[in-house]
Structure formats: structure tokens, C-alpha cells
Amino acid sequence: MNIPSNIITLIAGIALTLISLWYGQNHGLLPIAASEEAAEIDGLFNFMMTIATGLFLLVEGVLVYSVIRFRRRKGDTTDGPPVEGNVPLEIVWTAIPTIIVFILAVYSFDVYNTMGGLDPMASHDYLASHDHHQMVATEEDNSHLVAMDGEQVALGLGQSPYNEAGNSLVVNVNGIQYAWIFTYPDTGIVSGELHVPVNRPVQLNMTAGDVLHAFWLPEFRIKQDVIPGRESELSFTPTKVGQYPVICAELCGAYHGGMKTTLTVHSAEDYQQWLQDNTIAQTEVDGNVALGQ
């Protein structure tokens, strides 16, 4: 085999490593990360991007080099060398990917656990959850809760094991063609947009009214299908004040692309203000309805 001299191989290897390390951190492909969980996932993606860049450059480099160096010259009808394999080399390229995917699996598992994906409270029996979140089950979604007798696992992302439990803001989410409806069980606010305070864990208890939808926050890197007749859960902790898109990611009909709304992350004071304004507005609306009747 024509192997270039060791020095050239070494330099190419170092260059490849440096480029991969640099690009893995500077690809600029992801939108801003607006939650604690998002930063974890970005770290994981950067790690995968580093390895992928290295492998990409290695294989494409071999292909380009082969096409240039080993192309058949005019009039040459001989064959290449009869190399039928190389056991040590084959062991190496079996072992290295095995080790890489093992590391990647462990790393992914750790990130998923940190995100709350393995939260025992989110993988509990459904009935236990019902007791725990008595407040959650307000009248309007009792109908679907009744349908869910027996033991059932709540689905999605629960509390991170690193968060102290108990201070989460709970919001009920209902997905229908083609809108999201948010209900705040503590205050009774019903809104078409999601408003949360910064730096406080948020727990969304979600279901769907008609077909499957998926609740996606690209800046928070989290997504969970919402399913008619079942409850699913998402937990996250926003870290940056701002407005972010809420997108439906599961095909739900012709205007699926239009099913989106806004998540506003407020500072603590602004959130109190928003809460107050909307509680009043809500009471007024209810009052007017009562008067009208």
C-alpha cells in the first residue's frame, strides 16, 4: 500500500484534530440557548460535531486523495495490489467506533438524566401523579383524566434531579388544531401565549384535544408529543429573558405550519405584573359573562 511518509501522516492527523476541535465549538449552527437544559444539549451536540467533523475529514480526505492519487493512468490495464484485508486494521476500525458510541451513549444518558428524562416522578404510575398534582386537575380537563384509569406512565421530561422540588410553576397545555391553550391552575388564567418568569423551573402538563401535536421550543431544545387521551410532561428552567417561538412539530393537518405561538420569559417583577394584569382581566371577563347571563 502507498502510505505517505509518517511525518506527513502525523501533520495531517494533527491538522484534522485541530480543525475538528475548533469547528466543534464554532459551528454556529444552533440558535441561542435560553435554558439550563439547552446548554447541556449544546455541549453534547458540540461533542458529537467534533467527532463527526474528524470522521468526515478523514473519510472524505481518503476519497479525494484516492481519486487523485490512484486514478488509472492512460494505457495502464494492470490491476492494483491483491490486498484482501488487514485484520489489525479492521480490529482498529471496529474498536474505535465501538468506544466512541459507548462514550456517546453514556454522555447522552447523563445529559438526559440531568434534563429530568428519568425523573421517577415523571415515570411514576399515573394515579400517583394525580394525587401529587391535585391542583393540576382543574375542571376543564377532568374529562380526559377520567378516561385514563389504571396505571399509566407519565411521558416526557420531568424534574431534573438537581432541582429542588416544590417551587415549579405548573402550567396546563392543551393542543388543538391549530392553536395552543395555556391554563395557569394557580390563578385561573387562560392564555394563547405562554408567559413564565426567568430562573424558575416550569412544569408543563400537556394533552391534546383532537389529533397528535408536538410542543417544541427550539431555543430550549425540548420537544414532547401531546397525545389525545394521555398526559405528557415537559420541565425546563428558562435562564434568559426574551420572546421565543412555540412550534407544533407533529403533523396535525393542513395548517400545521401555522400552529405556533410565543413564549415570553419575564423578569420576576414583570411576571408579577403580567400575572396581576391578566388575573384582573380574567375576573372582568368572567364578571361580564356573569352579568350578561
Binding site: I41, V62, F70, T78, P82, E90, Q224, A254, Y255
Partner: protein, 545 residues
């Protein structure tokens, strides 16, 4: 010698035939017809997506285009195209006269044209709009008759696929010439064994899911309909139990093709025959236990997500073995950069990207972000177009002389490759950043901030459309006017090159002789006998035609 043997008449290709070569070409031509239909639907989608607003077609119609594009490309293009080469090549490669069950083979093919036409007819009653996955409850509430036609067509095409697979397995295992043991048969046969196993194990489960879905749709049962207490997640499990293996059903035959094409045109033995053969089986087995990675954001508990993450990542190992072995096959060879090898190398460079992004989406935390986005659309097009379709074109250019008895025009072939490669990457590479940035898939209208990249994607898809013209012109012209092909224009060693081009009706004049392994190139350099070089032996085989 050829003159003594009658050739097939053109009428034979339009009727029921039991000749595997006729059936193979029937499969291939039918598949290409549906490729152009599915491609036209894709182009209509790209015209719509060139602008953020739904201004070219109605959103309902966009969803019909999207559903039909996906279903046609999978069930009527790649699956039949894989079966086309399997039909044509397996008996020739193992020295058999025909398939094990020739009539069954004919029946299997003749399910496809009616299935395909029935499927296209759904446009007259409102085509299905729930995506090729047809998830309930959406599939139960949008376009009932279109959906039912979709179900019946897929059941028909699935039955055809099962009948084909029974034939492939039996033929490969029972009909090899006596000298050819299982470790000296061409790697394409290994890949078809792996493919057929998946078809036989997976397709019945899809059929069960679709029959139950059909009951929900027209009889008002509630297997999957939550309105009546059914569970839509069970459908997803049953659907993906077939449809993930289906990805391997679609790409494994072309892994086999690449293992045939690279050694011949690189003039070197395949690197690591057994590793490539066994990794096909490993992919086939692992492919059966990864289905729920399509459901990482669906109704699945955490432990299940972790299990399927681990199994999915392991598939990277046998796939990596193949890619590295193919690269090592090229390394140090004498690359004849004709159209077949160019598409082979194009396959390697594109499939690599699909493989790398595949490991990424296997990671649950990352997949939760990109699931159902354009990142996933990019990923599976790099696997199915960059992988399967590039492999398919390599196969067409490689075996065209054998199938037609004519050579193709290499200049047009290279133009076809360059246009396809540029158009393909321009179409699908920008989809990665689009998905990462927040563009979800299956939408007729999107956020204006994504417009610039979408324009690029649409331009790429137009180049892809243009790239088919040199191909069609080349094939049509070459069939009638191409230079006559000798028996073995590539000096290849597998048995199909030992007979005439095109092969006689009984395939071989006399039972072919296995005088070399399928990939023993380069033995002229250290020739064992020293008397006759392999070039001379090959030249003899070539001149006897």
C-alpha cells in the same frame, strides 16, 4: 455463438413473463417511472417552499403532495428498484438458470403496476394527507377514501415484496453452482439475504397495523382512535417495527451493489470480504430492535428511550466497518473513474454524512431537539438519496452493458453525475442548519427568517431535476445506438460476466466455471502459475463472445 440462441422480443417485456431477466427489467423500468412521478411531486413542493407563504398550492394539497412523494419514493421507487437488481442479478451471479419460483416472481412483479396506478388514482378522490407514516388520529380524520386507497395499495405492494423476498432467499441458498460455497458468493447476494430477512419479518407487522387502521377508518372501530379509547402509540410501534427495517431494506441492496462496483473499477479485491458480509447480517439483526428511535418524543417512557438509543448507536459499528472497508478497497487501486465508479464514490461521500447525522439523532437529548425538523429530513435524504439512489445509478451504469448489450455514453454519464452530486448537496445540505435553527418538517408555510436557505434548497432541487435529462437521453440513445458491448467490458470476475451481453434466455450456454473468487483482482502481479496472466484469461473470455 449468440446467433444460435433466440433473444427476447420487445413484446415479452409487456406481458407476464417467468424469466428473471425480463422481470428484473420490468421492475427497473416501472420503478423509474414512479421515480419521475415522485420527483415531480417533490419539485412542486420545492416551488411552494421557495416562499414562506402557502401561495403555490393549497396547504391541503401540499400535504397530499408530501404524503404521495414519500410513499411513492419508498414503496414504488427504491423498493422495486432494489428488487429489480436482485431479480436480474442473483441467478446470473450464482450460475442458476432462473429464480427458484419463476411464476411467483412474475406474480410479485405484476402486483406493482396495479398497486401503483391504484395509488396514483387517489388524487381523483383527494389523496391521503397524513404523511407516509399515516399516524392516527390525523389519518382517521383527513381524507377517508384517499387514506383507504393508500392502505390497500401499501398492502398490495407489501405482499409483492414478501413474495420477492421468499424467492431471493430460496434462490441464494439452494441454487448456487456446486463450486460456490456461501463464502465465495458475491457480496450482493449476502446483502440480499439480509434484506430479505427483514422483509419477511417486518412486512407482516405493517400489514397488521394497516388492517387495524383500515377497520378504524371505515368500520368505526377504535384500535388506535383515542376518541373511542384506542391507543395511537400502539400504531406507531407497529408501524415503525416494519418501517425502520424498511430503511435497511431500501439501502442494504445498494450496499451490495457498492461492494460489487468498487472492486471491479478500482481493480482491487474487496477489502475484508467476511467483515462486509457479516456486517450486513449484523445490520439486519440490529435493524429489528431500533424502531422506537422514531418515537423519542412520542408516548415513550425514559427507560425505553435509553434502550433504543443504545441499540441504535451500535448500528454505527457494522455500518462504519462497511464504509472503512470500501475506502480501503479504493486505496491503492487503479481507479477507472467512469460513471459507475463516480456514482460509487458519490455514494460513499454522501452516505457518510447520513451516517454521521444518524448517530447524532440516535442520541435522545439531541433528537428531542431535532425530531420532526428539517435536520431529520436532511438525514434520511442523505441515507436514501445519497445512499440508495447513488448506489442505484452506480448499478445502472455498471450493469447496463450486461442488460442491454450496449455501452453507455461516458461523457453524458459524467455530466449526469456532476449535476446530480451538486444538485443533491445543494438541496439537502442546507436542510441541516434549517432544522437546527427551528424549521419543522411537513409544513406548507414557514417563518420568513428561513427563506434564504429555502431558496437555496429549491434551486438545488431544480438542478437535481435537470440532472435527470442527460441520464434519460443517455439511456434511451444507448439502448438503440450505443456501441455493442462485449461479454465482459469491465473485465469483472463475477459469473454474470461469463455469459453473453445481453444474456441468452437460459442464462449460460453451459454451466459456468468458477475459476476465480468474485474479487480476486491483482493476481496477475503475483501470478501463481506464472504462465498466463489474468488479463489474458479475461481477454479470452471477452473475445469468445
Amino acid at each position: 455463438m449468440e446467433k444460435e440462441h433466440p433473444q427476447r422480443k420487445w413484446q415479452d417485456y409487456f406481458g407476464f413473463s417467468t424469466d428473471h431477466k425480463v422481470i428484473g427489467i420490468q421492475y427497473l423500468v416501472t420503478a423509474f417511472f414512479f421515480y419521475f412521478v415522485g420527483g415531480a411531486l417533490a419539485e412542486a413542493m420545492r416551488v411552494e417552499l421557495a416562499t414562506p407563504d402557502p401561495d403555490f398550492v393549497q396547504p391541503e394539497f401540499y400535504n397530499q403532495l408530501m404524503t404521495m412523494h414519500g410513499s411513492i419514493m419508498l414503496f414504488l421507487w427504491i423498493l422495486p428498484a432494489g428488487a429489480a437488481f436482485a431479480n436480474y442479478l442473483i441467478p446470473l451471479m450464482i450460475g442458476a438458470e432462473d429464480m427458484a419460483f419463476p411464476r411467483l416472481n412474475g406474480v410479485a412483479f405484476w402486483m406493482i403496476p396495479p398497486g401503483g396506478i391504484f395509488f396514483l388514482s387517489s388524487f381523483f378522490v383527494g389523496a391521503p394527507q397524513a404523511g407516509w407514516t399515516s399516524y392516527p388520529p390525523l389519518s382517521l380524520v383527513s381524507g377517508q377514501w384517499g387514506e383507504e386507497i393508500w392502505i390497500l395499495s401499501v398492502l398490495l405492494l407489501g405482499t409483492s415484496s414478501i413474495l420477492g423476498a421468499i424467492n431471493f432467499v430460496t434462490t441464494i441458498l439452494r441454487m448456487r453452482i456446486p463450486d460456490m460455497d456461501i463464502h465465495s458468493m458475491p457480496l450482493f447476494c449476502w446483502s440480499m439475504l439480509a434484506t430479505s430477512a427483514l422483509i419477511l419479518l417486518g412486512t407482516p407487522v405493517l400489514a397488521a397495523a394497516l388492517i387495524l387502521l383500515s377497520f378504524d377508518l371505515i368500520a368505526g372501530t377504535a384500535f388506535f382512535n383515542p376518541a373511542g379509547g384506542g391507543d395511537p402509540i400502539v400504531y406507531q410501534h407497529m408501524f415503525w417495527f416494519y418501517s425502520h427495517p424498511a430503511v435497511y431494506i431500501m439501502v442494504l441492496p445498494f450496499f451490495g451493489v457498492i461492494s460489487e462496483v468498487l472492486p471491479v473499477h478500482a481493480r482491487k479485491p474487496i477489502f475484508g470480504y467476511r467483515a462486509i458480509a457479516y456486517s450486513s447480517l449484523a445490520i439486519s439483526f440490529l435493524g429489528l430492535i431500533v424502531w422506537a428511535h422514531h418515537m423519542f418524543t412520542s408516548g415513550t417512557p425514559g427507560w425505553l428511550r435509553m434502550f433504543f438509543m443504545a441499540t441504535t448507536m451500535i448500528i454505527a459499528v457494522p455500518t462504519g466497518i462497511k464504509v472503512f472497508s470500501w475506502c480501503a478497497t479504493l486505496w491503492g487501486g487503479k481507479l477507472n473513474l467512469n460513471s459507475a465508479l463516480l456514482f460509487g464514490i458519490g455514494f460513499l461521500s454522501s452516505f457518510l454524512i447520513g451516517g454521521l447525522s444518524g448517530v447524532m439523532v440516535a442520541s435522545v437529548p439531541f433528537d428531542i431537539h431535532v425530531h420532526d425538523t428539517y435536520f431529520v429530513v436532511a438525514h434520511f435524504h442523505y441515507v436514501l438519496f445519497g445512499g440508495a439512489v447513488f448506489g442505484l445509478f452506480a448499478a445502472v451504469y455498471h450493469w447496463f452493458p450486461k442488460m442491454s448489450g450496449r455501452m453507455v455514453n461516458e461523457t453524458l454519464g459524467r455530466i449526469h453525475f456532476v449535476l446530480t452530486f451538486i444538485g443533491f448537496n445543494l438541496t439537502f445540505l442546507p436542510m441541516h442548519p434549517l432544522g437546527l435553527q427551528g424549521m419543522n418538517r411537513r409544513i406548507a408555510l414557514y417563518d420568513p427568517k428561513f427563506q434564504a436557505l429555502n431558496e437555496l434548497v429549491s434551486i438545488g432541487s431544480y438542478i437535481l431535476a435537470v440532472s435527470t435529462f442527460p441520464f434519460i437521453i443517455n439511456i434511451v440513445w444507448s439502448v438503440f445506438k450505443g456501441e455493442k458491448a462485449p461479454r465482459n467490458p469491465w473485465r469483472a470476475l463475477t459469473l454474470e460476466w461469463q455469459t453473453a451481453s445481453p444474456p441468452i434466455i437460459e442464462n449460460f450456454e453451459e454451466e459456468p466455471v468458477l475459476w476465480a473468487g468474485p474479487y480476486e483482482y491483482g493476481i496477475d502481479i503475483e501470478s501463481v502459475d506464472g504462465d498466463e496472466e489474468v488479463e489474458d484469461m479475461l481477454a479470452e473470455v471477452g473475445s469468445s463472445s
